[in-house]
Symmetry: C2
Subunit: 394 residues, 2 copies
């Protein structure tokens, strides 16, 4: 018989997906250029030329049996060594090849990291608002996701509530900085305090509480700043990364888990994740992509368009009287809706062909997410629609 728990999920439509599909229909009616679709977090800039060149060189010069052959179950050694070196240089932590586990994107990374440090029945703590796929990632391990309430308007983690909710049943804490959907970067101060709480509670409970840090937007950061690196503050950190955004390769499914040097279980965690792969049918990301990306670690796509778009949107939203935090990174902004019900607000926005995502899907009420990974020209052309939307509430 069909598995009913998966079967029933087909009745729950994703709001993001529904909005995107509506956008496609509407584009067929009035033209793609007239639909201001801020629904999907899909990179809008090409991968760097260095990636294409690396692929072409591998295909032209590599021995196909070797190039397309099975990776060891811990991943391609060249890629692992290159990532370790990159992280060691960037964050001044002594990562080595053995700390790196290549995965199919951040989805694979988070799924493996969570399975490694939880057992069924454990609790996993995250902070609202949060990426909705954390729900299935955690459910897949048999653990339970608990959510620390949000702290508007700045959306730094609510550390007071965090400390209260960090009970002995919590096996790990899952964070996301720069954050989807808010665009907020966790400050060094926040991470320092969070680490202190984790260290204290770990000692009090007699077991290490792991930090799983989801960082696919690490390279999209604004105002010339750098993103404070969570593992620098707390050594029991499994850092989950993806090249989907940094190199604009979301379809090629490459990411990694980096086990922080000094992390409890450092010696066995990567081997454990290779075992976990056997139970999910994951078995390594594609070989040629690992090898090509290994040659592009010190570059990124031209990500400047996201900052340009952010500034235009942030200024416009502020001028229109929206309550909104200025994003420090990502390609998201998270203004407060102009009525209590964010779903109603998003339906109203559709009247002006503005496609926004209500915050309910991220575990918070009353806000909307705008994904501004679109052409700057379209962002500019969307401003009159945004103005009409705001005017309709005056």
């Amino acid at each position: 018989m069909l598995n009913e728990s998966y079967r029933r999920m087909l009745d729950n439509k994703s709001v993001i997906r529904e909005t995107f599909m509506y956008g496609k229909q509407r584009a067929a009616q009035i033209g793609y250029e007239n639909v201001f679709d801020y629904s999907l977090g899909n990179p809008s800039v090409p991968c760097p030329a260095a990636f294409t060149k690396a692929m072409q060189k591998l295909l032209a010069e590599g021995d196909p049996v070797d190039l397309h052959g099975y990776c060891p179950s811990q991943g391609d050694p060249t890629f692992r060594a290159a990532v370790a070196l990159h992280l060691a240089q960037k964050f001044r932590l002594p990562y080595t090849k053995g700390d790196i586990f290549p995965t199919t994107g951040a989805a694979g990374a988070i799924s493996h990291a969570l399975r490694a440090v939880t057992k069924p029945g454990d609790k996993v703590l995250t902070f609202a608002p949060y990426f909705p796929e954390y729900g299935p990632y955690v459910a897949g391990t048999g653990a339970e996701l608990l959510v620390v309430p949000p702290m508007a308007p700045a959306f730094q983690p609510n550390l007071e509530m965090f400390e209260q909710m960090l009970t002995p049943e919590v096996a790990c804490v899952l964070i996301n900085t720069p954050n989807n959907p808010t665009g907020v970067v966790y400050s060094a101060d926040t991470l320092k305090k969070m680490a202190a709480i984790l260290t204290e509670k770990s000692a009090a409970y007699g077991h290490v509480i792991y930090l799983v840090s989801d960082e696919p937007y690490r390279d999209i950061v604004f105002d010339g700043k750098t993103v404070p690196y969570p593992a620098s503050f707390y050594q029991h950190t499994l850092t989950c990364f993806s090249y989907s955004k940094s190199l604009s390769l979301p379809g090629e499914r490459l990411g990694y888990v980096a086990v922080c040097p000094g992390c409890e279980g450092e010696r066995v965690l990567v081997d454990m994740m290779a075992q976990i792969s056997r139970f999910t049918g994951h078995n390594c990301p594609p070989s040629i992509i690992q090898r090509a990306v290994a040659q592009c670690l010190d570059t990124t796509s031209d990500l400047s368009v996201y900052e340009t778009n952010m500034k235009i949107l942030y200024d416009a939203l502020k001028n229109l009287g929206f309550e909104v935090e200025r994003p420090g990174g990502t390609f998201y902004i998270f203004p407060k809706a102009l009525e209590e019900d964010a779903n109603a607000f998003c339906l109203k926005a559709r009247q002006f062909d503005l496609l926004l995502v209500p915050s309910d899907t991220f575990g918070v009420k009353g806000y909307v997410r705008m994904a501004y990974c679109i052409d700057t020209d379209k962002v500019r052309r969307s401003l009159p629609a945004l103005e009409k939307l705001a005017a309709s509430y005056r």
Copy 2:
């Protein structure tokens, strides 16, 4: 805390892997060419030039944002449509795009198919000898793997025992033809009888028993024959395929589940598997590989070396008095060991630098698997070692 069930697995070394690592050490001592390593099922021939050309064309001409972009969660539409057309033409079954779910190799395919048609506590039935990874694939779903005992010497499925063991708790049956480790192709007669039993028991129990058919070796078939296609005999079949062997692309991780037209739940199964991906972090195989392979479906690598090797080895084993079934496909042969304990036999073989895998790892005692995906020259040069091994038992 670390998940102890995955942690403990690190203490159980894989015999195949241990044999392979021994071979590497031994090669360092006496030279790679003098170690007759039959341990690993790793394709020894290059991918077809058509694949490399398709990749190069995509990289040269494709729009990178589109080419490397996110796939829909059901997979790349071009690849899905091409696979459906290919299967429809080859097997005269009306597959359409909606029946095809692209996966990261056969591992991903089997894991998704099993999760779709079982729930925790169900039983999954397979036939010994069987690929050892079926253990974790089934365990990952929460179901229990039951094994129908083998039927030497021909190693067709034991249908009498199958019928007895096919109780109401069995949600699905997992088969593998052409078979790893025996090289045996399930006959049309076997599949016809198996289908009749499945149909009868499904009716008796009031629920469809699914067939999950693992077919990565479908294109490696000998003597100009074709492999009977299980879904042609039983419509409630989820066919799991991989391009690892047919196109020699094991590292690129591409395969699919094909839901047979008329299969119970056909309309929802692919969408369900897309949901299942969310729980395992799988989320589609690589985009560029799907697109390149879509252009190569009617070709394969030059697989003839496997048949050449099979004939040399089969004749040699027969001449030396081994009890052995002539493989109909794959790159494996499965002779009976010359002593009761296959492990002891394999250790003895190492004295002649012959690396074989004992059958215990495949759920059968007293046999060995030889993976002859190696150079024909080496197969020939290994014959004196095989002869010395046999002589040592006279």
